[in-house]
């Protein structure tokens, strides 16, 4: 992982996406958080972007010169916390 002194700052911990990868996509012109999410899976993991969204928004603000508060956020999807299918189905022992 650390050869060539690459930037290995993890931005999305759920999906293991580094700052370098995020910056590479932004440099390609993907400056929309919705699009970044879908192409890189950032914010698609169990924490749903609680950690990475603010970090990526900062990157987008830096790259585009827009104020942070003007960067549109993605939609937060239910369920709020990961729930087992067996629990939702009414218990793991049910027939």
């Amino acid at each position: 992982m650390c050869e060539h002194n690459k930037d290995v700052t993890i931005m999305c911990r759920c999906e293991d996406i580094t700052a370098e990868e995020v910056r590479a996509y932004i440099a390609q012109g993907v400056t929309d958080l919705e699009q970044l999410k879908r192409l890189l899976r950032v914010g698609m993991g169990p924490c749903q972007g609680r950690t990475c969204t603010p970090l990526i928004v900062n990157e987008l603000a830096l790259a585009t010169g827009r104020p942070v508060q003007e960067i549109p956020l993605t939609v937060f999807r239910p369920p709020t916390t990961p729930v087992k299918l067996g629990v939702l189905a009414g218990g793991t022992d049910h027939e």
């Binding site: 919705e34 879908r38 239910p78 990961p82 087992k84 299918l85 067996g86 189905a89």
Partner: protein, 382 residues
């Protein structure tokens, strides 16, 4: 921002992007693709993205077969430096009633005539293919190993990048508010950023196509229908094929990333735009999938979402021109199986729009079939 174009395409989903690429590849110039929000924000980005050839009509079998052959080569064809994550783990279609068994055998007959490598499997063989399948009540299944799944975001991205390289202009966050027509000819579109004049407009706006067509007095027999999906946490690969049951209205697959993606149909959904997720869906989905694939009970749901099928009366797409409005083309009403035929649809529409002979007949998908009462019914859709 008033502009002119030779061709305007409405809709930044996989169909619109595939059409844009195919038109540009054939040498069409000055193409503008308009997307209301971000690319894949409609049905494409919300779909299950399964890809199968196991249909019941020759036309759909051929459309799907050719599309799968195209998916196999798509990264090379489009010069994509990433992966569209095409996984050909097959599709296992489950039969629970005598009527289904009969229909599936009929379908196999159609498929075999066209060289589709599908086959009938017994419940025991089905369990060999998917070891964690509960075969209770199962009468048999059909399996085609060439069927599979792609990443819909990456697939669309591949088309978009290739289209851009060929000069297609893509405008995101631009909403078409009105179609413009005069004397029986389309003249362009009005957007929230100004008018774009164009003699050719291709509408691939999914369920929104209905409202757009209405702006020039065309009544499309098309309505949105909410479908919900969920995705679980990623785990080690345990399931190769997509498991699909028309009886339960259910599909479930494990994507290369390791997550399971699954959805169920609900025929009682109101016919209106609804992007909300419901807890009822979570419960019903969980109950059905843990019955069918019991070990999945231990998987956590990380996210659920909803999208719209753009349904037509015969649950088949509308392709081609609209009589009385020269220059206006439709590729809409895919009724939940648009993604899997997007490569071929893009090619056929490009041929049709440029006045070439289409590589496969598309007249059965003609808009006027509803008025003529000649519905094109496909027996094998969810």
């Amino acid at each position: 921002m008033n502009k002119t174009a030779d061709i305007v395409i409405i809709g930044g989903g996989v169909i619109g992007c595939s059409i844009a690429y195919n038109l540009a590849k054939k040498g069409a110039k000055n193409i503008i693709l308009i997307e209301r929000k971000y690319l894949t924000s409609g049905a494409t980005g919300r779909c299950g993205a399964g890809v199968r050839m196991q249909f019941g009509t020759e036309t759909n079998c051929l459309l799907a077969k050719k599309s799968i052959e195209m998916f196999e080569q798509l990264e090379e064809e489009l010069g994509y430096d990433d992966s569209i994550e095409f996984k050909q783990g097959g599709y296992l279609l489950l039969a629970y009633t005598e009527k289904m068994v009969e229909q599936f055998h009929k379908n196999l007959g159609v498929q075999h005539k066209l060289g589709i490598p599908s086959r009938w499997v017994t419940p025991a063989e089905a369990k060999e293919i998917v070891p964690h399948l509960n075969t209770q009540g199962l009468l048999g299944a059909t399996f085609c190993g060439k069927d599979g799944h792609c990443n819909p975001f990456k697939t669309t991205d591949a088309y978009v990048k290739a289209a851009r390289r060929l000069g297609v202009e893509i405008m995101t966050y631009t909403e078409v508010t009105k179609l413009l027509a005069k004397d029986g000819k389309i003249t362009g579109v009005e957007t929230n950023k100004g008018v774009i004049e164009s003699p050719v407009v291709v509408c691939c706006a999914g369920a929104y196509s209905r409202d757009l067509a209405a702006t020039i007095g065309i009544e499309l027999p098309l309505h949105p229908e909410r479908h919900q999906i969920l995705v679980t946490e990623p785990v080690e690969m345990i399931q190769e094929p997509m498991v699909m049951s028309f009886y339960h209205g259910l599909y479930c697959q494990q994507v290369p990333h390791g997550s399971f993606v699954m959805g169920i149909g609900d025929p009682n959904e109101p016919k209106e735009f609804n992007y909300n997720s419901s807890w009822q869906f979570l419960h019903e989905m969980a109950a059905k999938v843990t019955f069918l694939l019991p070990p999945l009970a231990n998987l956590r749901v990380v996210r659920q979402w909803a999208g719209q099928y753009d349904m037509t009366p015969d649950r088949q797409q509308i392709l081609g021109s609209v009589p009385g409005t020269e220059g206006f083309y439709l590729a809409a009403g895919f009724s939940g199986h648009g993604f899997m035929i997007s490569p071929m649809t893009g090619k056929l529409m490009a041929e049709y729009i440029l006045g070439e002979e289409t590589s496969l007949p598309i007249d059965m998908f003609d808009f006027t079939r509803f008025a003529r009462g000649q519905l094109f019914v496909e027996p094998s859709v969810v």
